[in-house]
Amino acid sequence: MSPRPTASPLLDRLRTPRGVTGAVGALAIIVVAVIAPTVWGSAADTTSVADRLTGASLAHPFGTDELGRDVFARVMVATRVSVLLTLGATAISVIGGVLLGAVATVLPRPIRRLVTALIDILLSFPWLLMALFFSVIWGASATGAMLAVGFAGVPTFARLTYTLASSLVGRDYVKAARIAGVGQVEVLVKHVLPNMLPPMLVNAAVSASGTLLAFAGLSFLGLGVQAPEYDWGRLLGLGIARIYGNPMAAIGPGIALVVCGVIFTQLGELWNESSKRLLGLPAPVRRGPGVSVQPLAEPTAPEEPVVQVRDLRVAFPDRNGDLVERVHGISLTIMPGEVVGVVGESGSGKSVSAMAIAALLGPDSAVTASELSFRGIDMTAPLTNAERSRLGLELAMVFQDPLTSLNPSLSIGKQLRETVEVHEGLSKAASTKRAEEALESVRIPLAAKRLRQYPHELSGGMRQRAMIGMGLMGRPKLLIADEPTTALDVTVQRQVLRVLHEAQLRTGAAILLISHDIALVSGFCDRILVMKDGRIVESLDADRLHEARHPYTQGLIACVPDMTSDRTMPLPVIGALGALRQGQEPLVEGPDGERLTTTEGQRA
């Protein structure tokens, strides 16, 4: 379930350790910046010849300077100037950059090209050089330094704005606004800029900690804050001069710089994570506590199943790190050569179950089962090298998107040969020959040429067949195909299914086909498992589909229009709790609409 956006995600985030650190740190900086001149002002400015150039002591934690002023007090007082200069410069960079970048997006194309070229040229200048250049214009003063550092940062933010805006302009909701007749500038203000805010804030925070250092650098060089004013950079410069006498005089301002920089960065991270959650993106998960798995030791029967699963449970940590069970104890057996289909909607746990069977789930997941074995290999225990080798040759997987499951930087041939070269120790010549045969058997013509090509040179359907070919390189006993044709057109889908069918005939491998399309599964498989909400609700033979007992299965069958659907009637609809109802009465959702529509797919 997606987070309720009405509750502020930023507030949620503040309750985490990082949130507390960031918030407390920011508060501390503000408090110090406000009260320091009052509290430490006199200590910072009172000269005392008797106390000059003392080392660190309880009375003077960072020692005193050549006029006997307390360095600690001066560091605290300098907070206000340092932070204000940093914020001022960052504000100049962000505001200037966003304006320039936003203007660039709405300009007519030829002028836009000129402006972006200019931004790119400015970007290639080192900021220090720009800052020095601006310092000459505005003179060596605190304001001059602020303007210099601020303007030096403008090109970075202009580029960021332009890049983000260009990608956002292609979104469907921007197109929709344009179709409704909303003008270009208004689209920019209402749709583009707000959605640019999160990355912008993160970058501003990171840039602020950089700016802090930039000031320290300029003041250190004598180009920034001028005496008698002082900021951390100047204090650092003065301290360095006598670092052998009193190291704390230099380390003190250094600590202030580091702490302040870290707090800025933390604030950026805070924004980053809270906005990710607002947009429904997964925040990084903490690794959940490992759940112990019960080992099994069972004698293997002669007609041994390929896959034996009993009471498989899979849990993932949610954003607070608590484990949430997504698969609630499923059991299934796949016999040699059997073609089994798993049907379910998004979030039903079908893919997760398949990944668990192939032991491909990441370390975040907690997988438990009273039995989870592939041809006698206990998949819940750590695998031995021999078992890993057998698995590599006997278990093949085909995923939905072959463009992401094939490595784009390796030739098709290299990827096909890898398994057998690693696990069977075949020579390159022998493995190439086998790869050619594999491609021919998945109906890819000119196999020798195709082997030298890269994934992007093949069409979607051909890539998917190459993926199946890769599975045929070993001695496959099980082919797991997870939505292998979902991204493909129907005619290409048929070619891929044909190849899968032929591979099954030739090798006798069992197939586990996962799909959301019950018509496809019913036409291709021997047996169908229907999954809903992490459970297998029904298991039935494909040719006995009409005998389905479970209301959800009946609903799935009925709610899909086919070539014989009656056009005069509304489509039946799967209502709450998976029960089927004729869609006569309009579906009205009250405030509890969330509950009524639990069958609607939540994106996993």
Binding site: A176, I518, I574
Partner: protein, 266 residues
């Protein structure tokens, strides 16, 4: 009631050697108040036709008219006429601004009516539209992330309706949805079409859905229409070889797939 007519529509992308003709001499007349299906595979040019009709791409040649009025180009008259054609997008997850409350997104749609709307009028209109698509009007202030995929798709339909269109173009509106939700959205679209006497151009790669939704259908391949006619005729007795192949490839519930037909190699 109004009719949408494409004649000799051609859309090219790119220049010179890299130019690609996405739509090539496309002909289609959608009769007022009917729903017309546009089927074909990816790259056949279906979505480009939709984008041209709402002004997102500029045709290289040909014309698109609504009730005889030209809706192509930048002239004020064409723009005004074009607002009566609205598009519902495929992916409900990217079609709504994630930072804008759904009510405001729908209110933005009322812009296309070119009338002045006062705040209360706009609020009432949004509530009315949400009720039309069976979503609780109380939830107008919530962000898209509070809604499921099916609900979001109904919200995007409400936004399109806010423009008071006479033509609705539905571009693969159920392909990103689960089958159990697909039915809800299709039923809603049929209900709206009947009640608001909409003309619908229904773009889909799913022949069964088109068969259920549409009075007539055009089959597209390579930017051209290869076959067109009443849905019952075209899908029951296809004349074109490509239409036949398309039909033969659709998996049918409970029917075992057979593999003895000839198969093109690549």
């Amino acid at each position: 009631m109004s009719g949408l007519e494409f004649s000799d529509l051609t859309v090219r992308y790119g220049h010179g050697a890299s130019a690609h003709t996405a739509v090539d001499g496309f002909q289609l007349t959608v009769r007022p108040g009917t729903s017309h299906g546009l089927v074909g595979e990816s790259g056949s040019g279906k979505s480009t036709v939709a984008a041209a009709a709402v002004g997102l791409v500029l045709p290289s040649a040909g014309s698109i008219t609504l009730d005889g009025a030209d809706i192509v180009g930048r002239s004020a008259a064409a723009r005004r006429a074009r607002r009566r054609v609205q598009l519902v997008f495929q992916d409900p997850y990217s079609a709504l601004d994630p930072r804008m409350p759904i009510g405001s997104s729908i209110a933005e749609g009322t812009r296309a009516t070119q009338r002045k709307w006062s705040r209360p009028e706009q609020r009432d209109r949004v509530a009315e539209l949400l009720e039309r698509v069976h979503i609780d009007p109380e939830r107008a202030g919530e962000l898209p992330s509070a809604f499921s995929g099916g609900q979001r798709q109904r919200i995007t339909i409400a936004r399109a309706l806010a423009a008071e269109p006479s033509v609705l173009i539905a571009d693969e509106i159920t392909s990103a949805l689960d089958v159990s939700v697909q039915g809800v959205v299709l039923n809603l679209l049929r209900e709206l079409q009947r009640e608001l006497e909409l003309t619908v151009l229904f773009i889909s790669h799913n022949l069964a859905v088109v068969n259920y939704m549409c009075d007539s259908v055009s089959v597209m391949q390579g930017g051209k229409v290869v076959e067109a006619g009443p849905t019952s005729t075209v899908l029951a007795a296809p004349e074109d070889a490509y239409t036949r192949e398309l039909l033969a490839s659709v998996p049918v519930m409970g029917r075992r797939m057979t593999w003895d037909d000839e198969q093109p190699g690549a």
